[in-house]
């Protein structure tokens, strides 16, 4: 057996994911009401077809991963960098409403720079704050969107 490189492993994981998605769709579909009797095709037919296809395609991926021999592609992936970005985004989700857009977006900026190997967080934070504040002003005041200011600031505004 050759070593499982990232591509093989990824293919197996994605294949298993697609097949499970297919099974889930199938299971949900059977639990769904069939729809009015007069309709030639109800809301279940199409999902059922997609569910079956997903299971087949998912299993094909798994088979592809298992059968694949030693591949010349031994590309390496920096999982720490991925974890940094994924983690930063989660922190942003948790904090966004509370601290507001400007700090949360700055955090994303600094976190992504860190993942890309930047060693100067202070300078990144400065650029990040400018970008975050700039987008806040542009999108909220000019374009009329609703980026959160932050729950902790709201009482300070005295309303």
């Amino acid at each position: 057996m050759s070593a499982w490189n990232a591509e093989r492993l990824g293919t197996a994981v994605i294949g298993a994911g697609l097949a499970s998605l297919g099974l889930f769709i199938g299971w949900e579909t059977t639990a769904m009401p069939a729809g009015p009797a007069y309709a030639a095709v109800g809301p279940r037919a199409f999902p059922a077809l997609i569910g079956i296809a997903l299971v087949v395609i998912g299993l094909l991926h798994v088979r592809m991963a298992v059968r694949q021999g030693a591949s010349a592609d031994d590309a390496r992936y920096d999982t720490r960098a991925v974890a940094w970005i994924a983690g930063t985004l989660i922190v942003q989700m948790i904090l966004l409403r509370w601290v507001g857009w400007i700090p949360a977006a700055t955090l994303v900026f600094v976190g992504v720079c860190r993942a890309f190997g930047s060693r100067r967080p202070g300078r990144d934070a400065l650029i990040g704050v400018v970008l975050a504040a700039g987008t806040f002003v542009l999108f909220n005041l000019v374009l009329g969107l609703n980026l959160p200011l932050g729950e902790w600031v709201e009482p300070l505004r005295g309303r």
Binding site: I25, M93, V112
Partner: protein, 505 residues
């Protein structure tokens, strides 16, 4: 000539100062997006979609969108020539000889032949679009649900079978998109499907979230994981941008041939501009008296593919406007934009919204002129964009990605979906699964189901409608051939190295 009258009317709309400004803004953003590695036109449109909704009227919005779309096609060539990094898959062919020219000090000539070729091709192809789209719309009126269903199947199979080198992976991506498209309230029965009890999911998963997740978050994760941030060298542009007589002589035929290849292939529901650019490259190599120059800086190898690239971009708009059928990820986002503005692209677009469609087409001509100016005398400005450090570039992309996802509905659920889709997108990038089929599948899926059920409702449940209607049967047959033929070809050339387009959007 009613087309001429309509086009003139379109020009009268596009030539208002405000719309000229939107057009100029669009082509500028588009060029920037094309130049910057990591962002493509589909991502730029997806990010701008939430913003434009409450800002401008549909005609102006589409004038800007079209500018972005065309602009990105021009800008892509700059990156491929100077950085040896194609910003879009459609620029891969240009990179081969374009970067070779840059290495031998002929970057200026490569940029010039790309820009002028893009202008020539873009203008001719826009003219072709002007006449083809209304005729296609008349043809589309003959299409019933069964025919529409079959046509969509063809579009989905081509997007899937053509991109990447593995059918299985392409279909994996496609069905992932189709599955995401199922989420939400079923329009025909009112039944909530796959919403998992989350109220935010009842409206379905927004195509913007999926596109941004796969293209921005997935791409950023991939770039970070691969350390694609060690300094690439940007070639310098030296000397005059003017082409010598010899360069003109060698360029004009490839421009025209590229246009002739690009527009029809773009207009067929065959998706994307990868195929025409490579076809053009191979054609030029075959027709050249000195094929050994190719790969070492043959100007024909830049002129042809760049022309084909822009011509196919115009071609893609034909099925989008006349059938409401998107054949590339960018076109899929444009379709979403139409839906957001409550406009239904398709045969009735030309009668119901003549201002929008003709203003849009007229602005394509104007945008091409703007782009020639932006990309020829001002190319030096764009080169500076390439000096942005990669960490800041990707950090900025993610800030805008989360901004776009959050402001769509002002809820955190969209950020969670963005995160999940981003991780999936990273995995797809790692195993070389194309993401365009997922985006197109998500947007076409619900339409496909609608036509499928309508066709069967009309036939009272008899599935033979799909084979007894001649147009539908032909199209479905074509779809089957499209799946089988490349697989057979691939099997025959099994020992050849994997396709060049492998693993790119």
């Amino acid at each position: 000539m009613e087309t001429f009258a309509s086009l003139l009317h379109g020009f009268s709309l596009a030539f208002t100062p405000l719309n000229l400004m939107w057009c100029a803004l669009g082509v500028t953003i588009g060029t920037a997006v094309g130049v910057l590695p990591g962002i493509g036109p589909s991502l730029a449109l997806a990010l701008l979609l939430p913003v434009t909704g409450n800002l401008v009227d549909p005609t102006s919005a589409f004038i800007m969108f079209a500018g972005i779309y065309y602009g990105a096609m021009y800008g892509g060539s700059t990156t491929s020539i100077l950085l040896n990094a194609p910003g879009e898959p459609s620029s891969i062919a240009t990179t081969i000889d374009g970067h070779a020219m840059a290495r031998t000090g002929r970057a200026a000539q490569a940029l010039a032949t790309a820009a002028i070729g893009s202008f020539v091709a873009g203008s001719i192809a826009t003219a072709a679009l002007t006449f083809v789209a209304p005729s296609l719309a008349k043809l589309a009126l003959l299409f019933g649900p069964a025919e529409y269903f079959a046509l969509m199947v063809v579009a989905l199979t081509t997007v899937t079978a053509v991109l990447g080198d593995s059918l299985t992976r392409g279909f994996g991506s496609l069905f992932f998109g189709l599955a995401l498209g199922l989420v939400g309230i079923d329009l025909q029965s009112g039944q909530a499907r796959f919403a998992l009890g989350v109220p935010e999911l009842l409206d379905g998963i927004d195509v913007v979230i999926v596109a941004v997740g796969l293209l921005a978050v997935g791409e950023t994760l991939y770039a970070a994981s691969r350390h694609i941030h060690d300094g690439e060298t940007v070639s310098r542009v030296t000397g005059s941008l003017w082409l010598s007589r010899e360069d003109w002589r060698r360029s004009w035929k490839p421009w025209l041939r590229g246009t002739a290849i690009g527009f029809p292939i773009g207009a067929l529901p065959a998706g994307g501009s990868e195929i025409p650019t490579f076809l053009s490259y191979m054609t030029e190599k075959r027709l050249s008296k000195n094929p050994e120059e190719f790969g070492k800086g043959a100007i024909e190898g830049v002129a042809g593919p760049e022309a084909a690239n822009n011509a196919s971009a115009a071609g893609v708009l034909a099925p989008l406007l006349s059938f409401g059928l998107p054949t590339s990820a960018t076109a899929a986002i444009m379709l979403t934009a139409f839906q957001q503005f409550g406009v239904q692209p398709g045969p009735t677009l030309f009668t119901k919204n003549p201002d929008l469609v003709w203003g849009l087409i007229a602005s394509l001509y104007i945008g091409n002129v703007f782009l020639l100016v932006l990309n020829l005398p001002l190319v030096g400005l764009w080169v500076r964009l390439l000096a942005i450090p990669t960490p800041w570039l990707y950090a900025g992309i993610l800030v805008f990605a989360t901004l776009g996802a959050y402001t769509l509905n002002n809820n955190l659920v969209d950020l969670v979906i963005l995160w999940v889709i981003g991780i999936v997108g990273f995995g797809m990038r790692v195993i070389g699964m194309p993401v365009a089929p997922a985006v197109v599948g998500l947007i076409i899926g619900p339409l496909l189901e609608q036509q499928f059920r309508r066709a069967l409702a009309i036939s009272q449940g008899d599935p033979s409608v799909f084979v007894t209607h001649p147009i539908a049967a032909t199209l479905l047959g074509l779809a089957i051939v499209l799946v089988i033929a490349p697989a057979l070809l691939r099997r025959r050339s099994h020992r050849e190295p994997a396709g060049v387009v492998h693993g790119i959007v």
